[in-house]
């Protein structure tokens, strides 16, 4: 009950600020929170990244194995994206097999990587039709202060950028860097009436779980969209969100590149 009242108060506060064209943490409507990236944090993984988006924290680890390709793409490797929303990250997450929210999160992240062709899968073939590399992208949420999805997408691409193919350990040649061809960025907006807030915090989400995620590639193409939550979206607002998402994605991509150039 106390929980409900608190949430009601937060909601009123968020909405009253919105009427003054403000966000509760002072950000502009189209701004992401502060982004911090740390890679190579798990030595036992082929690649890894810890991403902080404000107080939201996600770790992604990459493991690779050798397996069979799909029959219709005999010369391509595979990517499998999996998300565990462990109860450590939020009192609303429950232990057990992935629920609809973690499935959706993993699948939207997966689509961004896959459709932007971020990883050159043709460089992951060992023996055509028989042996290819399988990339496991495991998303491990640590702290949910809102917008786990974008944090997970950023952490996933950063972890992939950080990945070395462990060829020598498997006795199939020398290790090499995973060939990354694009930097897809997912941008999630909270829809509030005819307005939208990019990168919503958990407090902001108290006004209603109505989001729209637009994933943008390095050429400003859209590579994935996901409307999530039971609400109606107007065509004009949809177009506004696309434009803003393209702008926001560019900034995030710059931050990722800046981080990478610093550590490489």
């Amino acid at each position: 009950m106390a929980e409900d009242i608190l949430s009601e108060i937060k909601k009123d506060y968020v909405l009253s600020k919105l009427r003054d064209e403000e966000r509760i943490d002072g950000r502009k409507f189209e701004d992401f929170r502060k982004l911090e990236i740390k890679t190579s944090i798990i030595e036992k993984a082929e690649g890894s990244a810890l991403v902080r988006l404000g107080n939201t924290q996600v770790v992604v680890g990459i493991k690779m194995q050798i397996g069979e390709p799909f029959p219709d793409t005999p010369e391509k490797g595979l990517i499998i994206v999996n998300a565990e929303l462990v109860p450590l990250a939020s009192p609303t997450f429950e232990p057990g097999p992935p629920d609809e929210n973690s499935v959706e999160l993993a699948r939207v992240v997966d689509r961004g990587i896959r459709e932007s062709e971020a990883v050159d899968l043709s460089k992951l073939c060992i023996e055509i039709g028989k042996k290819v590399w399988i990339i496991f992208v495991d998303i491990h949420a640590l702290d949910d202060d809102g917008n786990l999805l974008d944090a997970s997408a950023i952490a996933s691409i950063c972890a992939l950028l950080n990945t070395k193919v462990p060829a020598s350990r498997f006795g199939v040649g020398e290790d090499y860097e995973l060939p990354i061809m694009d930097l897809p960025v997912s941008v999630t907006s909270l829809i509030v009436g005819d307005k939208f807030l990019i990168d919503p915090t958990r407090d902001e989400m108290s006004v209603g779980e109505k989001t729209l995620t637009i994933t943008v590639d390095k050429n400003d193409n859209i590579v994935a969209i996901q409307k999530s939550g039971g609400y109606l979206l107007s065509e004009s607002l949809f177009e506004e969100v696309i434009d803003a998402s393209i702008r926001a994605a560019r900034k995030i991509r710059e931050e990722i590149i800046k981080y990478c150039s610093k550590i490489c």
Binding site: E115, V223, Q226, S228, G230, L232, E235
Partner: protein
């Protein structure tokens, strides 16, 4: 499935359709006796059945919402609905489709009228071609009308794909597999007018201009499907009038 060299040839698609043409649609209302509302729908090779149960008391109690009805949506594929037999039970794809479809209906059902209740929407895919999620939403929408559940309007769903560089309406399997992008939409249609978007996903690669074009094309297709949904419902009510 082998990739054809070209999917569009001379402005025609490999099944002979024009770019903005829907696949044949067949709708049968009140297909099932047990359910409170039901619908059988064919869209190309898709064959789906939708059933609605409710509003009924939500059970177990802790799922009840004192302010409105809980909507549940279960998209399920029969093991024989696809080329390679599918193991029974939900996979990740079904879980995601069920979630976004549920949310589309949450946005249009007047759920505040039925506090503490649950409205169950079950859709079974007997045969799947591309677009089974859109076929299911169209069938479910009709089944909800058949069940007498008040909605803000009709929910009508259709996809647009980008194939060989051009946009096509209501893609079938080959276009879905080998196309460059796919956007399923569901629209709320009220008073013969498309009001807003209730379901929206996309994967592939498109410019923002193409997306705007896609919306236009989807709206054209949705209006045609909407007319067929209306006719099927009308027909059933007229028959009932005759028989009753």
């Amino acid at each position: 499935m082998f990739k054809p060299e070209k999917l569009i040839f001379d402005g025609k698609r490999i099944d002979g359709r024009t770019l903005d043409q829907l696949r044949p649609i067949k709708i049968e209302v009140d297909f099932l006796k047990r359910a409170d509302g039901s619908c059988y729908l064919e869209m190309g090779k898709n064959r789906v059945v939708a059933a609605v149960y409710g509003p009924r008391e939500a059970y177990p109690r802790h799922i009840q919402d004192p302010t409105k009805a809980v909507i549940r949506y279960r998209y399920n594929m029969a093991p024989f609905s696809v080329e390679e037999r599918k193991r029974p039970g939900p996979d990740r794809r079904s879980v995601e489709i069920s979630k976004v479809s549920k949310e589309a209906f949450e946005a249009v059902i007047m759920k505040e009228l039925f506090p503490r209740s649950v409205i169950d929407i079950f859709v079974e895919v007997l045969q799947a071609d591309a677009g089974s999620r859109t076929a299911c939403i169209n069938a479910a929408s009709v089944a909800l009308v058949d069940a007498g559940i008040p909605m803000k309007g009709m929910l009508t769903s259709v996809a647009v794909a980008k194939v060989d560089g051009v946009l096509v309406l209501d893609p079938m399997k080959e276009e879905d597999n080998f196309g460059e992008a796919d956007i399923p939409f569901a629209f709320l249609i009220r008073g013969d007018r498309i009001e807003s978007i209730a379901l929206l996903q996309m994967d592939g690669r498109m410019t923002k201009e193409e997306i705007k074009e896609a919306i236009k094309l989807a709206k054209k297709g949705a209006m045609e499907i909407y007319q067929m949904q209306r006719e099927a419902i009308m027909k059933k009510f007229l028959e009932e009038g005759e028989n009753g």
